[in-house]
């Protein structure tokens, strides 16, 4: 079936199987491998993308269902070679170790800051509670998101 959706601001039309999950569409059809495919069971959250500006687990959405909707992936965060503040924050505060959960964490963090520019640590922890960091680096991830909240322009002031 033919599906048209917006991915990172660009309209995309593809002929896909109705059963194709959004995570595989992004990775295999569009080559956007920044979105990670983890547990397959909507538990780990490494496949989180923004769907009409809100985080969803792309392993539990059919590509067909996303037709007509706006999907944003981690590849969309950096603009004109300038990192998004959440990306910069993860760099500044050691928000990643192995990096597998990072794309999902970044997208949830971006959606949170768009809604609440100055979230408390508790609010950040709730926002990323659908995501698992198997390196258990949660404290650094929370610090990274706080860094992004304090530095909405992104770049380090040091």
């Amino acid at each position: 079936m033919e599906v048209t959706l917006s991915v990172n601001g660009e309209p995309v039309t593809r002929d896909v199987e109705a059963r194709l999950l959004l995570v595989h569409f992004l990775r295999d059809e569009l080559g956007l491998t920044g979105t990670h495919w983890g547990c397959d069971t909507s538990n780990c959250g490494s496949c989180v993308v923004l769907y009409d500006d809100e985080p969803v687990k792309s392993c539990t959405v059919l590509t067909a269902m996303a037709g007509g909707h706006d999907v944003r992936t981690v590849e969309d965060l950096e603009q004109d070679e300038v990192l998004d503040p959440v990306q910069q924050g993860f760099m500044e505060c050691h928000g990643l170790q192995c990096g597998f959960c990072t794309p999902g964490m970044l997208m949830s963090a971006r959606a949170l800051l768009d809604r609440d520019p100055d979230p408390s640590e508790d609010v950040i922890r709730e926002a990323i509670s659908g995501q698992i960091c198997r390196c258990t680096g949660y404290a650094s991830i929370v610090r990274s998101v706080r860094w992004a909240a304090v530095h909405p322009e992104g770049r380090s002031e040091a």
Partner: protein, 292 residues
Amino acid sequence: MQVPAPIEYERATSVEHAIGLLTRLGDEARLIAGGHSLLPMMKLRLANPEYLIDINDLHGQLSYIDIGATRVRIGAMTRHRELLESVALAEVCPIFRDAERVIADPPVRNRGTLGGALCQADPSEDLSSVCTTLDASCVIRGRDGERVVSMDDFHRGPYETAVRHDEMLIEVRIPMRPHGSSAYAKVDRRAGDWAVAAAGAALWLDEHGTIADARVGLAAVGPNTTGIPAISEALRGRAPGEDAWTEAAAIAEAACRPVTDSRGSADYKRHLAGELTRRTLRTAWERVVAWR
């Protein structure tokens, strides 16, 4: 890699269209709303529909929380997040916010719907227990019109509801009575997991501060999320307080039918059923008193 079996996909543009498609395609067709119950079942090939009818375009029409003097009406496509964030709903039925805080996680709550949760009819699912506690009714629409069934009649057993293959749940109605409040509590192994055990309680006082009525609904401790009428009978006319909660807890422990599994032993779950009944009744009562 978990992928669903091949399917045909249709989008419904109205409730009538969805019901027409269900009628035409027969019992191999399933509605998909948030998809967070059905898609995992399809990936595991536990559900193998030939046709999926996507009703997400009906969100605008079937997502509402309408609070009236005598009843609350909630559209079946209302998403978990909308239930969680509704201040007006939390004021009249705080049990919803209690439950939604511990249902899954934010990305899942962005998609999953009230109707989808009820129609999945998982015995461990929280909103079924919430709706049972609140004595809710379900509005089911078919080709020939609507029928309204109580939660006890709606929930036929694990993964089985009163909704026929060519029908659709469109609304949940909750009766409102004065001087009442409600609460929900769940024990889970990790944040957002399915319950080891959970309990909801609703309580109404009369003009003298005596218990006019009380209801308790348990989740994950039996094949069904039915209420416990014996608790209602025992509490009506009683003075609120620890003696009443303890008696209700004992009834809940005796009435539930938990099984030992990876989430805990039957004995532990039975203990939780009692303790959570005690706590939610106490919280519901404290909320009525604070509210008056």
